[in-house]
Amino acid sequence: MSQRTVIIASSVGLHARPAALFVQAATATGLPVEISRVGEEPVDARSILGVMALGAKCGEEVLLTADGDGADAALEELVALLSRDLDAEE
């Protein structure tokens, strides 16, 4: 199983547009990606409801895990995504 940690860069946290973009990207990997806050139960990264309910805030560290072919590369992409302020981009 592959895993990465990343700090949420979006100023609004993992909410609204950033959450939607992240879930779309996680779904596009075709892998069962999970996301969790430190010390908490992971949620399905392909679930917008789960990711919004996670409530990860700006500056907070989250853990991404995935299994399967290309899991490392997929997680790198998602880490890069979460490291940008997605709310500020058009």
Binding site: A16, A20, Q24, D44, S47, I48, L49, M52, A53, G55
Partner: protein
């Protein structure tokens, strides 16, 4: 020529329109006895297909929407397609629930979780319920509920419309609103008038009219013509033109033909209302309802948030007066953060100033925000309390307002006790403002939400006029001005009676101001006083109105 079918409702927002019907469907609930799925796995697949179809519909709407709506609709489509939601539904199916019941239960679990989290998540509950209502309707083989996507100008027909649904209607596509229930002072009626959309409520059989049927609607008389012929449409247009002519060319401050001033003010509910009304020919705001800042919120609005909104409102009116009503909530309009529990009779319970007495912190923050915004803008801000019954309550409120450095304080006169004892109540403050909708409700002991009681709630009821007269008498004795900010102020004929009784300002939906201004300009104060006496001498609301009309300038018949 065969006669055109005519139905009669109550006109609540002036104007005429002709257009095809679009029916608004109420949401359907899953049947309580929905059969369990014989094959939960197959039912799970069906649910996924239906939710996918909901997602596709939402995306199609998103593609045609503006940027803000697009983001919301796209996110809502993702919720419909959420794998977590499908899994949660599976659990309910496995427990023996039917598909519609399972989807309903799974989405309600998320709603409960989001509501409890508050803030941004709580605001998403509306979107989740949209997915739920569409999903449940489709699983039951019915059409999506709510206002359908409008593609051409139409007449919206519904059993009743929620205020939120009304507020989200597109003015350029909604020619008129017709409802089967709802009363003339319901919030939907008030909103329609504010938005300038002709509206008729309490039209018998409205929901039975087929989508696509052409209706001609007169929002003044309450007449609705089904499949009108060209002659009927022409007559409606001519009626509109006669009204426009009667409106005449009067502009500027309201006054009678002999120069007695009666300030014409706007009722507003939001900063957007203020900006729309601010550019119109009105003398200020006679009622700024501040509830929208509080209702549907999980937490109380912060001082900063309130200062920002009040500043926007005050700036829209420059040096013109803005009368602000402090928070008016209670068991009928419950607040998530100040819920005093259910009450047997919410209209008679701890609402208005009584809620402020229980939660002085809310009032204190609001007054402090109003004082800051008034200082920043230099605006003519006057603050009044709702639901005041006694002089002691008035004194309590006035002290708090003045301690915050706000120079002008008043009270709503909507409880009969306050009208009868206006002399003592007004001695504590600078002005009074008659809320005729609630005053009629409390005088006649008739719930204003009960459309069936509309006759009792008629502001022409002589008993209500007697209480208005008592309040004005108290104003005269104390030298304090008395205004009216209920729907009664918007009736061009009743406005004359109110003027005759001694009212010195009239506040209404801004679209109604021109008709009232024209009516005042056609009559002198002596005539208004004579009308007031004649109306009070009558024994029924019909007689009171007829007596006033008998003394009026004949031109006014085209205005009322």
């Amino acid at each position: 020529m065969s006669p055109v079918e005519t139905r009669h409702g109550i006109g609540v927002s002036p104007g005429t329109a002709v257009g095809p019907v679009v029916q608004v469907r109420p949401p359907v609930r899953p049947p309580a006895d929905e059969a369990a799925s014989a094959d939960p796995a197959a039912a799970g697949q069906l649910v996924r297909q239906v939710l996918e179809s909901v997602a596709v519909t939402l995306e199609e709407r998103a593609a045609r929407a503006d940027t803000t709506a697009q983001q919301i609709l796209t996110a809502t489509a993702m919720m419909a397609r959420d794998p977590g939601l499908a899994t949660a539904t599976d659990k309910h199916l496995a427990r023996g629930r039917g598909p519609a019941t399972a989807v309903d239960a799974a989405i309600e679990e998320y709603c409960a979780m989001f509501s409890a989290a508050g803030g941004y998540l709580a605001e998403r509950v509306t979107d989740l319920r949209d997915v739920r209502d569409r999903g449940v309707a489709r699983l039951l083989g019915q059409k999506d509920p709510g206002v359908p996507e409008l593609t051409q100008p139409c007449v919206i027909v519904a059993h009743d419309l929620a205020p939120a649904e009304t507020a989200s209607l597109r003015r350029d596509l909604v020619l008129a609103i017709v409802t089967e229930s709802g009363g003339p002072t319901s919030h939907t009626a008030i909103l329609a008038a504010q938005m300038g959309i002709p509206a008729v409520v309490q039209l018998p059989g409205a929901v039975g009219i087929l989508t696509g049927t052409v209706l001609a609607v007169d929002g003044v008389t309450g007449e609705v013509f089904v499949d009108p012929d060209p002659a009927t449409c022409d007559e409606l247009v001519q009626r509109s033109e006669r009204r426009a002519k009667a409106l005449g060319t009067a502009v500027g401050p309201g006054m009678t033909s002999d120069g007695h001033p009666v300030a014409l003010l706007a009722n507003i509910g939001t900063a957007e209302d203020a900006e729309r009304a601010g550019v119109l020919d009105v003398e200020g705001v006679g009622l700024f309802r501040t509830e929208f800042l509080f209702l549907d919120k999980e937490t109380a609005p912060s001082l900063e948030e309130q200062v920002a909104v009040y500043t926007r409102v005050f700036e829209a009116f420059g040096s013109r007066r803005v009368v602000v009503r402090t928070l008016d909530a209670g068991a009928d309009k419950p607040l998530a953060f100040a819920n005093l529990g259910p009450e047997e009779n919410p209209a008679l319970g701890r609402r208005g100033l009584r809620l402020s007495a229980e939660r002085p912190d809310l009032l204190e923050t609001q007054l402090s925000a109003l004082a800051t915004a008034a200082r920043v803008t230099g605006a003519d801000v006057r603050v009044m309390a709702p639901m005041v019954a006694t002089a002691e309550e008035t004194a309590w409120f006035a002290r708090r307002v003045r301690e915050n450095g706000l120079p002008s304080v008043g009270v709503m006169i909507e409880v009969p006790a306050a009208a009868l004892r206006a002399r003592h109540v007004l001695a504590e403050v600078d002005f009074g403002s008659l809320g005729t909708n609630d005053l009629a409700q409390y005088t006649m002991a008739a719930d204003r939400m009960q459309g069936e009681l509309a006759t009792l709630l008629d502001p022409w009821q002589p008993a209500v006029l007697d209480l208005v007269a008592a309040a004005c008498e108290g104003g005269r004795e104390t030298g304090k001005p008395m205004g009216v900010c209920g729907e009664a102020a918007a009736d061009p004929l009743l406005a004359l009676v109110l003027t005759g009784l001694g009212v010195s300002s009239l506040s209404m939906a801004p679209t109604r101001v021109p008709a009232v201004r024209a009516s005042l300009s056609l009559h002198d104060l002596r005539t208004c006083t004579a009308m007031a006496a004649a109306a009070r001498a009558a024994r029924s609301p019909q007689d009171a109105r007829a007596a006033a009309l008998g003394l009026a300038n004949k031109l006014i018949t085209d205005l009322v």
